[in-house]
């Protein structure tokens, strides 16, 4: 998570999908408007196959 400016934050997340054994990297760009943070851009990045458990 990075606060680029006081009103813009970039968040990187890892989403692990158990059903499909996939790990998805995601990026969110949030903006603060009227004191509320909202997702402005949500991009699904690359995927990696999770190792078998």
């Amino acid at each position: 998570m990075e606060f680029v400016t006081p009103n813009v934050a970039v968040v990187r997340a890892i989403a692990e999908f158990d059903e499909i054994k996939t790990r998805l990297s995601e990026t969110y760009v949030l903006i603060k408007d009227n004191d509320q943070w909202k997702i402005r851009v949500h991009e699904a990045g690359g995927t990696t196959i999770m190792p078998a458990r």
Binding site: M1, F17, I20
Partner: protein
Amino acid sequence: MSSCRSSTGRFNVTLSFEIMAANKGGPLKPFASWTALIVTVCLACVAHAQSNPTNQDAAVRAVIKTFADARNARDGDAVAATYAEDGEYINLNGVRTRGAHRAVVLRIPGFRTGAANRSLGGVRNSERRRRPSNRGI
């Protein structure tokens, strides 16, 4: 005159009051001066709290957590509420879906499948160059 200056690390808030008695043009009595000082301090504290990176960090994490929980629950309205009106989703192939309303969100590929556990990294403040730490949502 009463003044207060609060340094928040991001910007400075400087508030000052100069209150003159309306009837005689002279300074107000001590009670009014203290009231002005207290109001000034309160305003500075509010400004500090609103710009506190810790509060902002928690607020952003809350949005992502709300999104993740709503997505896993297949709650289109709740997911839509986490997006800005002009928010957009870009999938793995670069296809963009614009708009935050429920109907748009429900068209996002994979919305109805694939519950996921999402984890976030630490906070990095570009202005303060803090080192990232690994923390969950």
